[in-house]
């Protein structure tokens, strides 16, 4: 009948196109009321890159999140971004935004330093003001500073930023190269029930822990992790575009044939982050998008083994494949 098993698996995932050479760029301009327009080329596919990049811009500029508009509408206005793939946007576009904000701050500090009787290096930007680090009472509000730069100095308060890992082609003999900035880490724990007569695997619980470095927005990071867990579950148990592989006999033609998990299929999920800063990511961020969907399948397969002693080396572990493996084990 039903047998319980526990398993776990880990994994890591690189940030950015493997081999580098994938730039992201950002432009920030300030309006005279101290609000900002952040223009990027990165596409928001639902993961929330506009949210995260607006948070980074706001943090750097010392203004509120709601004060940042994000524009990523089209390729004429937006600066270059290689794309929203390879778990790269938070890290690479995030650094581009930081660099753009730095340039904005340079313009502003240069404009107001005389008013504050200090050199630009002696100033800092925080909570809507520019102030002298050593004497925080000597300060000017960001709207006033942008106003001065715009209307008194007549300079545009604009910053540009880019971030890119230079291409790393690799040694033709050994393949040695530096393919990525750094890695994110995943560890997933699964508990399953295996029905020994039908082969049905019931995943009871998934606990997923990630080191995504500094988490820029915990709610969005959880969302990625939860969606990744569901996709990993689908990969482990049901999803297959070519069920009769390698024959193309039964290619699914609708969502009634290609199964993805429903709300009923996703077990209770527990998501945790440890935040070990990365070397070079914005505020120590790593990535979360893709690595969140990888370790569930092996964790579930290892749990199935713990339950009934079979190795499901071929995914997905459909009821039929599990039952066949159980029968083979019994026969052996």
């Amino acid at each position: 009948m039903k047998k319980r098993g526990k398993g776990f698996a880990v994994g890591f995932y690189p940030i950015g196109l493997s081999g580098g050479g994938d730039p992201s760029q950002a432009i920030i301009k300030m309006k005279p009321d101290g609000t900002a327009d952040l223009t990027i080329g990165s596409v928001d596919i639902g993961q929330g890159c506009r949210t995260v990049l607006a948070q980074i811009a706001a943090e750097e500029l010392g203004i509120g999140y709601e004060q940042v508009n994000v524009h990523n509408t089209d390729t004429d206005t937006g600066p270059f971004c290689m794309g929203s793939f390879a778990s790269r946007v938070t890290y690479i576009a995030g650094n581009a935004v930081i660099n753009a904000a730095k340039e904005v701050k340079e313009v502003l500090l240069k404009s107001v330093c005389a008013n504050l009787n200090a050199s630009p290096e002696e100033l800092e930007v925080a909570r809507g003001i520019i102030r002298v680090k050593a004497d925080p009472d000597r300060c000017i509000s960001i709207p006033d500073a942008v106003g001065k730069a715009t209307f008194a100095d007549g300079v545009p308060v604009v910053g540009r930023g880019a971030s890119m890992k230079p291409p790393s082609g690799g040694d033709p003999e050994t393949g040695a190269c530096e393919p990525c900035y750094t890695m994110s880490y995943a560890a997933v724990y699964a508990e399953v029930d295996v029905d020994t007569e039908t082969g049905v695997v019931d995943v009871l619980k998934l606990i997923c822990v990630y080191d995504a470095g500094r988490v820029i927005n915990p709610a969005l990071a959880e969302g990625q992790a939860e969606g990744g867990a569901a996709m990993g579950l689908g990969a482990a148990l049901m999803e297959n575009r070519i069920p009769d592989y390698p024959k193309m006999t039964y290619s699914p033609e609708s969502f009634y044939e290609y199964m993805i998990p429903t709300a009923m299929d996703v077990p209770p999920l527990e998501i945790g982050f440890i935040e070990i800063p990365s070397d070079g990511g914005p505020y120590g961020a790593r990535a979360i998008g893709e690595m969140s969907a990888n370790a569930q399948a092996p964790a579930i397969v290892n749990a199935i083994h713990d339950a009934v002693g079979i190795w499901m080396t071929s995914m997905p572990a459909t009821p039929e494949k599990v039952l066949r493996a159980l029968r083979e084990k019994d026969a052996a």
């Binding site: 993961q47 709610a219 969302g223 969502f255 709300a263």
Partner: protein, 158 residues
């Protein structure tokens, strides 16, 4: 061509349709009500979910003529007063949207549930939403949002 008369989000509408036209096509292409989405056109994903005379339906496989004389509510119609529906607010506060494509149908499915059962349990919510696929969220924050909306609004209705 048959004439279809129906009420959508409180407005009386008259449209010419073919006998095989789906309700989704009428909503999107004739009435320009765009929150119901076409995700599969086979009734499997739920992105087109609307409420027809109090019943949740997949508008893509509901023949438009079947809605004759009936009332359709779409996501646009649940905050007509200008205030967010408790479910909308809960979806926002609980970060339940990612790409947003399933969201209109998901909220309508949740509304149909709460209209019938103002205090559903978590398994009841999951069952009620199981015809609405979401590839982004893993459903957790969606289910939490429905729980939150039902807790805040004991007599949740439109």
């Amino acid at each position: 061509m048959p004439v279809l008369e129906l009420k959508v989000n409180g407005n009386d509408c008259q449209v010419l349709v073919e006998h095989t036209t789906s309700l989704l096509e009428v909503l999107r292409e004739k009435l320009m009500i765009l929150s119901p989405k076409m995700g599969c056109n086979t009734g499997d994903c739920g992105a087109c979910s609307v409420i027809l005379d109090g019943m949740l339906v997949h508008s893509c496989i509901t023949p438009a003529m079947v809605a004759s004389g009936k009332e359709v509510i779409t996501l646009e119609g649940i905050s007509a007063s200008g205030e967010l529906h408790p479910l909308q607010k809960a979806f926002q506060d609980n970060h339940a949207t990612q790409c947003g494509f399933c969201t209109p149908g998901m909220i309508m499915a949740a509304k149909a549930l709460l209209d019938e059962n103002p205090k559903p349990t978590e398994p009841q919510i999951k069952k009620a939403l199981s015809g609405n696929l979401c590839r982004c969220t893993g459903y957790k924050k969606i289910v939490e949002s429905v729980m939150a909306a039902s807790a805040d609004n004991p007599a949740s209705g439109s």
